[in-house]
């Protein structure tokens, strides 16, 4: 042990090896990981999926999912070895000395108990307090965590809080018994950017005030840059590089770290702006390949909508998801649509792709109204869509070949089997996959590969226009970069027009010519990407841009 400091590290991990004995043999999730966390320190653990960063956190707190187990190595908490403690002892440690914040605030809280009940039971589990004292403590914890009117809201159920607020509750729960260490596993990944920043601040503030160290596990370099003191880069169950945040981010030494940092898109334009298509003269909307006019979409919230509801005079509650949105996209260009969850951007995409009919307003692709009877046919040929989740967008029971060929068959472009096969092979090659892939099933591929298969399927009808709904948000950054590259390449090669939906401003900046910012169904502002990003007019746009954690902000 390196005890140069007078202080004992809060957490000290030595040569930690975690194995998963699976049926196809042993899977080693961690290959001898060693690190220390000093008291009050914020350690950022970063890595792509499968790097073993969550596994490290779970191993420390003793909550590995079976059949995972610590095969060798040691874990010390304040110098006390804890990896071999019996379960009964571990229970006393959890919550009391090591707190934990999990990724998804929507599922971390038990929906059937009030926030107060959950806080009080945790507090009383660890501290010798009466019910009333525990309640008082719970209220002050919530207040500290930034929940307004905490004394009233303590008796609310989790579902009565928004996502960000719930994560604050989770943080309050994690620090309820003043632990020495808080393990935060992707605490902000499920949140919108604007909320993300606030939650990070709360986490940091609460831990600072108690002198608790934080082990912050995330895939998002930006978050780490924002609050971490030191950084630990992990890949494939090993630590690649560690050091103070500023140093590692500005001067990464290992090739993996360099590649990782390089592939992160930033808000600042480094490369050329996407070149507008050949005839890129900024004409009037007449020229636009895609034209969206006054698009509006209402959803009924039920209750009054059904036959019985009407019978009893229940009022139909209407929720306007998209409100009078208009924009246009020129041929061969990319239009980016940004916004937070619930802003209506995906609903827009679905209306344009022909999945849900608009309540009012019209959509023209290549001059034809896609929701008219004649327009529908041309829409099917010309418009395709790429989805967010590459796991859900491919039918798991179909072979890749059939998946890619489905549009060809559906539109009856050809029914000759060998011709279809040739075309599928060709498409797979275009997205840089071996044509052998067509005999396999989707689960045999990684996320990035699946997204490429989805792109191949979208291309199979040779469409002119592709709606991309968060095409990369489920992917690791390095894979994201590859997929974005592929998309740009294909755009150039075939003169494709894209509508790119994303919550990630950096991705939009990198890919789009024009951008629209949506908020609560309304298009706040729209225009060329550089103009909007550099000189935002709308307050909301500015707030969004400010909230983005940026590597450049590293202290």
């Amino acid at each position: 042990m390196t005890e140069t400091d007078a202080q004992t590290p809060v957490l000290s991990v030595r040569d930690l090896v975690v194995d998963f004995p699976l049926r196809r043999g042993n899977f080693r999730a961690l290959h001898g990981v060693s690190f220390d966390i000093a008291p009050g320190e914020v350690l950022g653990v970063v890595g792509e999926s499968g790097a073993g960063k969550s596994m490290t956190g779970a191993a420390v707190i003793g909550l590995l999912t079976p059949p995972g187990r610590i095969t060798s190595g040691e874990v010390y908490l304040q110098g006390q070895r804890i990896d071999q403690l019996p379960e009964a002892e571990m229970v006393k440690l959890r919550g009391k000395r090591i707190g934990m914040v999990m990724q998804d605030p929507l599922t971390s809280l038990n929906p059937l108990f009030t926030v107060g009940q959950q806080l009080i039971e945790t507090i009383r589990q660890h501290l010798p307090l009466s019910e009333a004292e525990a309640r008082a403590r719970a209220v002050s914890l919530l207040e500290e965590a930034g929940i307004p009117r905490a004394a009233e809201r303590i008796d609310s159920y989790p579902h009565q809080f928004s996502g960000g607020m719930r994560q604050r509750v989770v943080i309050a729960l994690a620090i309820a018994a003043d632990p020495e260490l808080v393990i935060a596993d992707e605490p902000t990944s499920a949140l919108d950017v604007s909320v993300q920043a606030q939650v990070i601040k709360v986490l940091k503030k609460l831990c600072e005030s108690r002198g608790a160290a934080i082990m912050l596990i995330t895939h998002d370099m930006g978050v780490i840059a924002q609050i971490a003191d030191r950084i630990l880069v992990m890949n494939a169950g090993r630590i690649v590089e560690s050091g103070p945040v500023g140093q590692v981010i500005r001067h990464p030494r290992e090739p993996y770290t360099i590649k990782l940092i390089d592939s992160i898109p930033t808000l600042n334009r480094e490369s050329e702006a996407p070149v507008p298509a050949e005839a890129a003269t900024p004409e009037s909307a007449q020229d636009a390949y895609v034209r969206v006019e006054n698009l509006t979409r209402d959803f009924s919230l039920g209750g009054g909508g059904s036959f019985f509801g009407r019978l009893f005079g229940g009022k139909d509650k209407i929720f306007r998801a998209v409100n009078d949105v208009s924009f246009s996209i020129r041929r061969g260009e990319t239009y980016g649509l940004v916004g937070e969850s619930g802003s209506g951007k995906s609903t827009c995409a679905k209306m344009i792709a022909g999945l849900i009919p608009p309540s009012s307003g019209r959509i023209f692709v290549d001059g034809a109204d896609v929701w008219s009877a004649e327009g529908a046919a041309s829409r099917r040929r010309n418009v395709q869509m790429i989805f967010q989740d590459p796991y859900a967008s491919l039918n798991p029971r179909w072979r890749v070949g059939s998946i890619v060929a489905e549009p060809i068959k559906a539109l009856k472009l050809t029914s000759n089997r060998s011709e279809i096969e040739d075309r599928v092979a060709d498409l797979l090659r275009k997205v840089r996959l071996d044509p052998v892939a067509m005999r396999k099933y989707p689960h045999e591929f990684s996320g990035g590969q699946r997204q490429r298969i989805a792109i191949a399927r979208a291309l199979s009808t040779q469409p002119a226009f592709i709606v991309c709904d968060e095409p990369t948000s489920a992917l690791d950054v390095s894979v994201q970069a590859q997929v974005l590259d592929l998309m740009s390449g294909l755009q150039e090669e075939y003169g494709l027009t894209y509508l790119l939906i994303s919550h990630n401003l950096a991705v939009i900046r990198q890919m789009a010519n024009d951008v629209g910012v949506m908020r609560q169904g309304v298009l706040e502002e729209s225009g060329p990407v550089d103009e909007i990003f550099d000189h935002p007019k709308a307050e909301y746009t500015r707030m969004l841009l400010d909230a983005v954690p940026d590597l450049d902000k590293v202290a």
């Binding site: 909550l63 229970v91 919550g95 971390s108 038990n110 589990q125 989770v170």
Partner: protein, 376 residues
Amino acid sequence: MLAFILRRLLQSLIVMLAVAFIAFLMFRFVGDPVEGMMGVDARLADREALRDRLGLNDPFYMQFWTFVKNAARGEFGISYRLQQPVTQLILSRLPATIELAVVSASLALIVGVTLGVFTAIHGRLPPSSRETLTALAAIILPALALWFLGRGLLWSFGAAALIFVSTAFWAKSFFSQAVMAVSLVGVSLPTFLIGIGLIFVFAVELKLLPSFGRGQTVELWKGWSTGFLTKSGLLSLILPAVTLSLFQMTLIMRLVRAEMQEVLRSDYIRFARARGLPESTINFRHALKNTMVPVITITGLQLGSIIAFAIITETVFNWPGVGSLFVNSVQAVDVPVMAAYLLFVALVFVVINLIVDLLYYLVDPRLRVDGRSGRA
């Protein structure tokens, strides 16, 4: 909330009407009631006359309309077989069925939920072969010993059963796996066979429990006679209640186990662990309550069907409830009783459904607050 209940009531009404219609449709075909009513000496002309008086020669829709009209007033006419007002007949049989159903339902619920929770918690790991072998040896050897000592098969089985139950304390995962397997026997045997088997063992061979009927009953209030207050009444209840509950018990147990395992894998349980809550709090406070949400619907429907399910049990044990009344009526083509019975079952269904919905409101705060209809 009010609108919701109103809506449910309307739906219930439709359900009742549909059941009435189906029941009615069926009764036209089950046989000729006149046959049972007239006796063998009756002349053909008299049969025809009776058919006329019963309205059996009226057009179908007329008969249905008359039926619905009377049913709405609680009038189901006079039983063809027993010549008493059907409503009165059913009411006099109701206590027996309700007591049996309530006891079996409680039995199924208590044992089912307990075993379901137990197997969910302890069944996560398959038992080690050592545990299995020890447990099996502990069960089989004493049983064999007793048998060789000439104490008879029943003693051996009794001992084996006792030791098997005791494995719940010292070989938990063996017990839960074994319970899962044994419980399947409960759904692999027709109810009537179980009933006859129990009678054979406990009434005929051991002479421990009564083989039929309700024993001595005491009238509580307005014709509600109960068997709960006498020893013979309670003893008589045991065999039918066990027989009737076995099937539902198995279903509930398996349902609870599956749901509980699902819940135990959820994030909030993981987070509860991370908060340092002890295992017992997690299992019985957090997991169990969440398990109950989906279990309530299915269980509600299942328990509702116990009353109708009782027809076989009541037949086997000669239990004087509405179920055996129904079976006797089917054999005698006693249409008014059959119709009333079916409507009664539908009514039970409707009521149980309403209760289930209200329970949902109680258990799941997500429904309480936004007051919107439908289950999440």
